[in-house]
């Protein structure tokens, strides 16, 4: 499992192993300040990062920043 989340410390505390830092609490996979095309690109990159995390062997809790 990959956890895409805004507050990394909470994710670490509850014991997620593959952690992907997100943008912000009200829009973890988006940014309303960006033009739509750029926002989609941002979302795509974050999701891609989560998919990469799932394919990365790890031994311990890892933050994929």
């Amino acid at each position: 499992m990959a956890h895409v989340c805004s507050i990394i410390t909470i994710s670490q505390t509850v014991g997620a192993n593959r952690i992907v830092p997100a943008v912000a609490i009200p829009h973890p996979l988006g940014n309303p300040k960006l033009p739509l095309a750029e926002e989609k690109e941002l979302r795509r990159n974050l999701l891609k990062k989560a998919l990469d995390a799932l394919q990365t062997p790890i031994e311990e809790q890892t933050v994929f920043s």
Binding site: M1, G15, R18, P26, P28, P32, L51, L54, Q55, T56
Partner: protein, 356 residues
């Protein structure tokens, strides 16, 4: 404690397993329940220590059952024993102490937690690693013991002190002060010292390396070994879960905006993206404006579909959602257990969980 004595004796029923009940060890663990009039084994010590505290008690009956028999026939045993115990009109029921005996601890907990709702005070005692503790600590006052029977006298003495309070009908506000395990129940009350002063006092004690007790223990979170990495995304089924409260418009399952007691499971079949008119956020812990405008900002279905085509994985046709806002660890654990069973059953190999 002279006031503990009354014109009549307090009636106690004691529950023991086959070993302490004098039947035999593990080879007799299949022993069916039976009743002895009066005290038996540790019951004699129990009665003696009650009387040392000037509590006029009598163990009117000792109920004995084999640990394996109880574990294998719990429902039937309880159906038989609870009315039987009630028939003795006990003022208090004492079960154990069970120390670190797992089946015994579970039996003691089951008996006590069945009696408490009937208005019969029931207490037990066990070691902190006894599985009966986690199962019954919330509903039963459980005295903490060491892990072996060598702690018998100290354990029974603590049970007697607690038992006397229960016999008097005293409210047990702070289980720990009575030698019991915390029940994990928060009670409001007025403290004579304001919070800022207590916090500073606690901090000073900590700095001075003096003992102090937190007023807000952090829940215990277990750890799991990281799973092996996926070697290839092609053909792999990946599920999306969110604690960000993204639900179909109208929140059909009425997931609470905080302290969620449930989660929802929703279809993604045929959906290329999430839209403001079809989905919304039910979360009460953040400003929903941006999530309601474009729910993909929390649950990225649009990009899941794009990457599905490019990378060849299969998004699971259902997503799960709850609201992670003051949600209790117990509830979260319960959701996770149920969801994990379904995901494994449905052949899901990986999950992406998004949180706000």
């Amino acid at each position: 404690m002279a006031e503990a004595s009354q014109s009549r004796k307090y009636r106690i029923v004691h529950y023991l397993n086959q070993f302490f009940g004098g039947v035999g060890g593990e080879e007799k663990a299949d022993c069916e329940p039976f009743t002895i009039q009066g005290p038996q084994g540790p019951g004699r010590l129990l009665e003696k220590l009650f009387r040392e505290e000037n509590a006029d008690v009598e163990i009117v009956a000792t109920v004995v059952c084999g640990d394996s028999y109880f574990a294998d026939h719990q429902e039937n045993v309880l159906r038989e024993l609870i009315p039987l115990i009630r028939g003795y009109h006990p003022d208090l029921v004492v079960a154990g102490p069970a120390f670190n005996a797992g089946r015994y601890g579970m039996a003691c907990g089951a008996i006590c937690s069945s009696l408490e709702p009937l208005g019969i005070p029931a207490i037990t005692a066990m070691y902190k690693e006894n599985p009966g503790l986690d199962q019954y600590r919330k509903t039963v006052l459980i005295v903490e013991t060491a892990n072996t029977v060598s702690d018998m006298e100290a354990a029974v003495r603590k049970m007697v002190r607690l038992g006397i309070k229960r016999l008097r009908g005293e409210e047990i506000e702070f289980p720990k002060a009575e030698g019991c395990f915390e029940q994990g129940i928060r009670k409001n009350y007025f403290h004579e010292e304001p919070a800022y002063r207590r916090a500073i006092d606690m901090l000073l004690r900590k700095i001075n390396e003096e003992p102090f007790e937190t007023e807000y223990p952090i829940p215990f979170f277990d750890r799991v070994e990281p799973r092996p990495a996926l070697t290839d995304l092609k053909g792999v089924t990946i599920a999306l879960i969110t604690s960000g409260g993204i639900v179909p418009t109208g929140n059909p399952d009425h997931i609470e905006s905080s302290s969620a007691s449930k989660y929802g499971k929703y279809s993604l079949e045929g959906l290329e993206t999430l839209e403001a008119k079809t989905h919304q956020s039910a979360h009460g812990g953040y400003d929903n404006t941006y999530a309601n405008e474009d729910p993909n900002r929390v649950l990225p279905i649009d990009m899941m579909r794009k990457l599905e085509k490019e990378l060849g994985f299969k998004p699971h046709p259902w997503y799960y959602a709850t609201v992670g806002n003051g949600t209790s660890v117990d509830n979260a654990r319960k959701f996770a257990k149920e969801i994990a069973v379904e995901l494994i059953r449905d052949g899901v190999q990986a999950v992406i969980l998004t949180s706000t």
